[in-house]
Symmetry: C2
Subunit: 286 residues, 2 copies
């Protein structure tokens, strides 16, 4: 339970005030992050998340002040401090402190352990509802901290009993606010090629589809989504989550479909098996 | 010189770590701010800035935890602590701490005094260069903390010896990254009607124009800007700043024009006179 964060070579309990109020992430929204979790105590696919994180940083012209090896050892220390079996991690990189409120100097890099997100097994069983929302993220390949639209729409989402927004622009869908979208049409898996974050779970699902279903990365219209046999969304926290309502339109039968179920099961198997051999060797070494 | 900030009923030196790392302004860019300064020790047009700030907060569904009167007394205290003749103020409101990294609970409200921004008298004399940049802010009437584009473009701006970006979309200009735009055409002052923050300096300049020049609020194309007699930009820190280059195009003669100069002078007179009677009565009362 004791979750800590790492900042400037120190470890702090999560609720410690650590930041000055002139951080550019705070003053100017100049920040990016990544978010991942452990399975069997091992950060799942950390190499993929790390690659995305460093790419996002490069896009914003920010230098990550630690190496992959350095971060891995901090993750381990945070894990040990937590005394939990599984944790979530958040990496946060900002433009740093700006005495003039604008100029980037030395980036601030924070690494946090957090409790696992609240699971939604009901959603996986029955499917979720999303609302189409005309918007495309400014820098869609950067995991920036810009989530104003999602939070601003929180009341509307609740009123509509919807779980998320589905971004589209000029008739083409891109992604949900924090997850990727796939549609199934005549046994083919299709996901947008453009304007969407390159999700790690998206990547794993595409790996799992090999030998099972053809996968196409291409433009998808909102009309295609509404007419799809199945729709699901993928993310670190949602895994493979069926989407059974888009606005007022029922998708397919209105129930999660067989392709969605098969890919979810394949993903769950991957999680269960993840790092098993590594744990074995670590335990015997310890 | 000792600048302080106010946060949760306490005053802290500006470089005190006061914020936890799960603030939604930081994690999700869910924040808004306002920025103003004193003339003759009095916050200039505070009532206008306060109105805009509370409107921005309402747009993001955030409650401001203090009244105008309460904030005024904090501003006075911060001013006294600074021992400066003139200060700048920044109000910052965020979605607050989110244990789940996403949900708004109690907003965080920070009030900072800061040193006055570095003045640019050279720019006022010779004019500045701006670069057209295809973009329109998501929530243009909200003074949100989203400035990713400006900071991301910092190197390009420097390389081009440009002071700022001029946002345009679908051929229409809206604003600079942190200031409004006016053009002068045949003795008429024109400023965009849409997709631009309602600047307080913009408002004061329009007041000063009354009886001098007709003012039009309407759509302005980028082509009109390039062909204008004069272009200038207005903000709390820039006052009335001539724009003499837009990309590679020289505006008018390439020098600041007479209308720009006249409005700048009128604004400066307003600053010099601001709050004079108030100071007098306060001093005699003290």
């Amino acid at each position: 339970m004791p979750f800590f964060c790492y900042f400037r070579e120190q470890f702090y309990p999560l609720d410690t005030p650590i930041l000055q109020s002139n951080d550019l992430g705070l003053l100017r929204g100049y920040g990016l992050f990544d978010y991942f979790r452990t399975y069997n105590g091992i950060p799942f696919r950390f190499e993929d998340y790390w690659a995305r994180f460093t790419n996002s940083a490069a896009s914003l012209g920010l230098e990550v002040p630690l190496s992959e090896v350095g971060v891995r050892s901090i993750l381990q220390r945070l894990y040990d401090l937590s005394e939990e079996r599984e944790v979530a991690y958040r990496l946060l990189l900002t433009g740093g402190y700006a005495p003039d409120g604008l100029s980037v100097s030395q980036p601030n890099f924070i690494i946090r352990t957090e409790a696992l997100p609240v699971d939604n097994p009901e959603g996986r069983k029955k499917g979720i509802k999303v609302i189409p929302y005309e918007y495309v993220r400014d820098l869609p390949y950067v995991k920036s901290t810009g989530y104003v639209h999602l939070i601003k729409m929180r009341t509307e989402l609740k009123q509509e009993s919807a779980a998320d927004l589905l971004f589209y622009k000029n008739g083409l869908v891109s992604e949900l606010t924090r997850s990727n979208i796939f549609i199934v049409r005549s046994g083919i898996l299709i996901t947008p090629s453009k304007d969407a974050l390159r999700g790690i779970t998206r990547k794993v699902v595409m790996e799992k589809a090999v030998g099972r279903y053809p996968v196409e990365e291409r433009d998808i219209t909102l009309a295609e989504v509404l007419a799809a046999d199945e729709v699901f969304t993928t993310s670190t926290t949602k895994w493979v989550m069926p989407v059974t309502m888009v606005g007022d339109t029922k998708i397919g039968s209105g129930l999660p479909g067989p392709v969605t179920a098969e890919l979810l099961a394949a993903l769950e198997n991957e999680f269960v098996a993840y790092g098993r051999s590594e744990i074995g060797s670590r335990k015997s070494a310890g």
